[in-house]
């Protein structure tokens, strides 16, 4: 049957452009899957290796202070294998720019650290010279220090001078945020730095007193097995926070990022593969339809169904082969491009991704399933073809006759009536066009909505929530009436107290290190919004949690939470949960500022001041504030928004790629389907021409048909939008950290409808060009 296979391949060649597009779509779908699988798996493996190299602890705790002997005694707790302590201190780095406050989290370095090791960029393993400071990679990237540069830090009014020694990383602080209010990093303003531990002890004025602790567990032990005893033991040393590895900020952030990338990549792959499956199905089915007589002849000659099936399947396998090759090349390119940034960021030893055979096999199977599945669906028609069909010209198919109301047919001219009946006469053909239009519109609408959601998450939600111009973070808690020298500035129009308390927060079943935010009842400068962009009031009593925080702590409204902080409330304080809200992201707990004394028995004070500043005076005010010694840092909202946007940049880029790809994909699909379905009617249009129809009149028929299909497609798109929106909502919320809602706006619809409309129009123009080339003499010679 080689000769028949030739025929099938040659028939395919007539649809070569469409087939090429289909292969490209499959390739990109599989490439997305493979590329992101290569990227995330390599990254995961390498980061895990990085965490292992750093000897990442199993449990992390922050205390007010504990000496080495006391710390070693924790090994007596069953399940604790090893303990480790480190000194750390928040300091200010002095820069030439007086307006800018740069806060460094200074960590003590020892060459023989057993846990949570600091890795120095120059590969240095021995002790840091006492006059040297090493900077975290992110800060170094911003300030571009050169070895030997003089760096001054200030704490408690004393200035210390160091020389820049190099950069370094620390697994606990891959991304450093100074407090929970900062959900994004701002490498220009915050960062980590390392000095010799003995030097840090001198700066701190405490010897042999650790604030950051790490614990490893014996084999077979989990965090829950030691949590209770360890928490009790550390209470005596002013426990601020305690958490396990899975919930450690850097580790959790990294894991959720990988989860989200995988979920989005899988969704995009699925979308691409579904589209290509649909297109292959249409192409194969159309091929079989147009070859009915030939297939009948083959059957009359003695060809079996299986033999004919196999030929179409062999052709599919050819497509699979090309698709796999292209997708593999694209996947390697995508994964390397994504990985390169991360490799530099984490200073990973593996600089190029490794090809993972199981991912390649899955990619091949995915391609195989898509192509062969669609081909099989398309060639099922072969079974229905009887050899009798070889014996005579096919009778005209009994089309569906739809009676339209007279008022409708009356207002349409004859061409439009032909077109209207044409839509309903061949249901499958019209369905293919309608579905491709609906698919195109709905996927574009949802892609726009997802893009807007990320923009909102990355920037707009800060503008809605954080209405202040400047946030001043104070070194110590102060009373709301207490004044800070810089805040007497006449350009400050309004100011409010605000507090963030880091607490060990526990429910009956779970505990975690959380921050509780105390906000003014009628705050004008900080307003909470949920994921539907509604303004939420903090309840009069108890605490309000985000759904993410509630999940983490395993609580619901009516339960009670215990809050404990070694410094401000050493004994646990019970507060009822009175409200749970859904937000896009964030494990936050809110309480009304004026209700704090009622629960904690005393005024805890504020540690942040929010200010609105007269236009054009933000820099003056910031400079004045920075001179106050108890100001740790001042943040302006513009910086937050920029930093937030930048932190989402990679996700934006990914979504942008997906949007463009969807656009191209949608356009190709609509063009292909319109082209295939109109081309098969060349004889019909040729007959119209013979009857005396002009090209313009034929364009009117085809155009009107497409218009009707477009409008029906638009209606079908509405439920599809809901399906896609729900699908993407689910995917974006793969991580428990997120509670996104993909909400579609009228603007999304307008953009998608317009773009899809243009695509259909352009497709028609191309199709008409082909119809103009039709030779009427050939049409008349055709058998049917």
């Amino acid at each position: 049957m080689r000769q028949y296979a030739k025929n099938v391949f040659r028939t395919t060649r007539k649809n070569i452009f469409v087939m090429f597009c289909v292969i490209l779509i499959i390739s990109f779908g599989v490439a997305f899957y493979m590329g992101f699988a290569f990227y995330t798996r390599n990254l995961h493996n390498e980061i895990e290796r990085y965490f292992t190299e750093c000897r990442f602890a199993d449990v992390f705790a922050d205390v007010k202070g504990i000496d080495d002997t006391q710390l070693q005694s924790m090994k007596e707790i069953p399940g604790i294998r090893d303990v480790f302590g480190r000194q750390a201190l928040q300091v200010r780095m002095l820069t030439d720019d007086e307006d800018k406050v740069v806060t460094l989290y200074l960590l003590g370095y020892k060459s023989h650290d057993r846990m949570n090791r600091i890795l120095l960029g120059d590969g240095r393993k021995d002790d840091i010279p006492s006059n040297c400071i090493y900077m975290g990679k992110s800060v170094q990237k911003v300030y571009q220090f050169q070895q030997g540069d003089r760096i001054q830090i200030q704490t408690n009014g004393t200035t210390y001078t160091f020389y820049y020694g190099g950069d370094g990383t620390m697994s606990q602080y891959v991304e450093y945020v100074p407090d929970q209010m900062m959900t994004v990093t701002d490498d220009e303003r915050y960062g980590i730095a390392f000095v010799d531990e003995n030097v840090l002890e001198k700066i701190n004025g405490t010897v042999d007193s650790y604030t950051e602790l790490g614990f490893t567990l014996e084999d077979g032990y989990q965090y829950d097995d030691v949590k209770s005893q360890l928490t009790k033991a550390l209470d005596a040393y002013g426990l601020y926070s305690i958490t396990d590895k899975a919930n450690q900020y850097s580790y959790e952030m990294f894991q959720s990022e990988i989860e989200m990338y995988s979920a989005v990549a899988n969704a995009v792959s699925a979308l691409f593969l579904l589209i290509s499956m649909f297109m292959i199905y249409i192409i194969i089915r159309k091929m079989v339809e147009s070859d009915r007589s030939i297939i009948g002849t083959m059957k009359a000659m003695g060809a079996g169904n299986m033999e004919l099936f196999l030929i179409y399947l062999v052709q599919s396998l050819f497509m699979v082969l090309i698709g796999v090759i292209i997708s593999f090349i694209v996947a390697v390119f995508i994964s390397n491009a994504l990985y390169a940034d991360e490799a530099e960021y984490y200073n990973l030893t593996l600089t190029d991704i490794q090809i993972l055979p199981d991912v390649v096999v899955k990619g091949i199977l995915l391609t195989l399933f898509t192509v062969v599945g669609a081909t099989f669906l398309g060639i099922r028609e072969v079974l229905q073809i009887s050899p009798v069909e070889s014996m005579a010209a096919p009778a005209p198919k009994a089309g569906r006759t739809v009676e339209f109301p007279v008022w409708l047919t009356g207002i349409l001219n004859s061409r439009q009536n032909i077109a209207l009946h044409g839509v309903f006469r061949n249901v499958f053909r019209s369905f293919a066009i309608i579905y491709s239009i609906a698919f195109c519109i709905s996927s574009m609408v949802v892609m726009y909505a997802v893009s807007n959601l990320l923009v909102y998450t990355g920037s707009e939600q800060y503008a809605r929530t954080e209405l202040y111009d400047l946030r001043v973070s104070l070194m110590d808690y102060v009373s709301e009436n207490e004044t800070v020298s810089g805040l007497q500035n006449p350009y400050i129009l309004h100011k409010e107290g605000f507090a963030v308390y880091d607490m060990v927060t526990a429910s009956d079943t779970k505990s975690a290190e959380m921050s509780i935010m105390a906000v003014d009842k009628d705050s004008q400068l900080y307003q909470v919004h949920d994921n539907r962009k509604r303004k939420i009031s903090i309840p009069d009593s108890g605490v309000m949690l985000t759904e993410q925080a509630a999940r983490k702590l395993g609580v619901k409204v009516g339960d009670t939470l215990q809050f404990q902080n070694g410094e401000i409330c050493p004994k646990p304080v019970a507060i009822p949960v009175t409200k749970i809200i859904e937000v896009n992201a964030g494990e936050n707990i809110y309480i009304r500022m004026d209700r704090v004394p009622a629960y904690f028995g005393r005024e805890l004070g504020i540690n942040n001041i929010l200010c609105s500043v007269a236009a054009g005076h933000k820099a003056d005010v910031a400079a004045a504030i920075n001179k106050a010694s108890n100001v740790v840092y001042a943040v302006d909202t513009d910086t937050i928004k920029t930093a937030a946007y930048e932190s989402y940049e990679q996700q934006y880029s990914l979504i942008r790629v997906v949007i463009y790809a969807t656009l191209i994909l949608g356009a190709i699909m609509v063009y292909s389907i319109v082209n295939i379905t109109v081309r098969e009617r060349t004889t019909e249009f040729g007959t119209y021409m013979v009857l005396g129809f002009s090209h313009g009149e034929i364009f009117e028929i085809i155009g009107f048909e497409q218009l009707v299909c477009y409008l029906i497609g638009l209606l079908l798109a509405l439920p599809l939008v809901k399906v896609f929106a729900d699908l993407f909502t689910g995917l974006l919320n793969t991580s428990e950290q997120n509670m996104y809602i993909v909400k579609v706006t009228p603007q999304d619809y307008i953009a998608a409808i317009a773009l899809c409309g243009i695509t259909v129009f352009v497709s028609l123009v191309f199709v008409m060009r082909n119809i103009r080339k039709v030779q009427l003499t050939d049409i008349l010679k055709e058998r049917a």
Binding site: Q3, R10, G302, M391
Partner: protein, 239 residues
């Protein structure tokens, strides 16, 4: 000569919504090996249906249709499964269609070779193309051939499988008289050279004059069977 086909009381009903059409209504006949048979009759008389039944591409409602292969094994066509029918068509039957049914994407040689690939004991495709006089156009695609030339290719293709029976449905129906005569000559030639049974369905009574046997169909029955001991040559017929 031995019998190659025996048809007893063939009935075929087609249902079109509520209407039942009796395409064959108790048709019986016998065809002998190597005969040149013409089936004649008006439209709707059941001649094409009979051809379809013999070819194993349609199924009887009732009746018995027997085929005797080269080893004289009796094969009941009416009792064959779909799978066996495929094998039957492949091994024993060659088709020549009114509209040629050539595969437009394949050249002359490829169209004939297609049958060669399917045949159990096929004939040499190049030789057959020579015999039908298309050697010069062996690499032409069907679109570049005239109707007569296309039908020659179709005959070469049908014969290439080396079937016992060649079934021809209105082989000259789409051709002019002169080309039609050439095609009949070709079929007669193959009938005599390869000793193949040739069954032709036609409206053209003149073709019946060159046949060994003529089956007249009317209202789904064989109304008359005519045997010619000395059939005319094509040049003796007044076309």
């Amino acid at each position: 000569m031995r019998d190659i086909l025996v048809a007893n009381h063939l009935r075929k009903e087609y249902r079109m919504e509520d209407v039942v059409v009796n395409a064959l209504n108790d048709a019986s006949f016998t065809i002998q090996e190597g005969e040149f048979v013409v089936i004649l009759g008006p439209s709707g008389s059941g001649k094409s249906t009979t051809l379809n039944m013999i070819g194993g591409i349609d199924k009887l409602t009732s009746g018995e249709l027997l085929y005797y292969d080269r080893e004289d094994h009796e094969i009941k066509i009416n009792e064959m499964s779909d799978k066996k029918l495929v094998d039957y068509r492949r091994r024993h039957i060659g088709f020549v269609f009114q509209f040629y049914n050539l595969i437009p994407n394949l050249s002359v040689r490829e169209n004939v070779k297609l049958a060669w690939e399917m045949g159990v004991n096929p004939l040499n495709p190049d030789e057959l193309i020579d015999k039908v006089g298309l050697h010069e156009r062996i690499n032409y695609y069907p679109s570049r051939l005239s109707g007569g030339q296309q039908q020659r290719v179709a005959i070469a293709r049908a014969l290439c499988k080396n079937p016992n029976i060649l079934l021809c449905d209105e082989p000259t129906g789409a051709l002019d008289i002169h080309t039609g005569i050439e095609i009949i000559n070709l079929l007669l030639d193959f009938n005599q050279t390869y000793h193949k049974t040739v069954i032709i369905v036609t409206h053209n009574e003149n073709i019946a004059k060159v046949a060994d046997s003529v089956l007249y169909f009317k209202d789904g029955k064989v109304s008359k069977i005519e045997k010619h001991d000395k059939p005319l040559r094509t040049d003796e017929v007044e076309w």
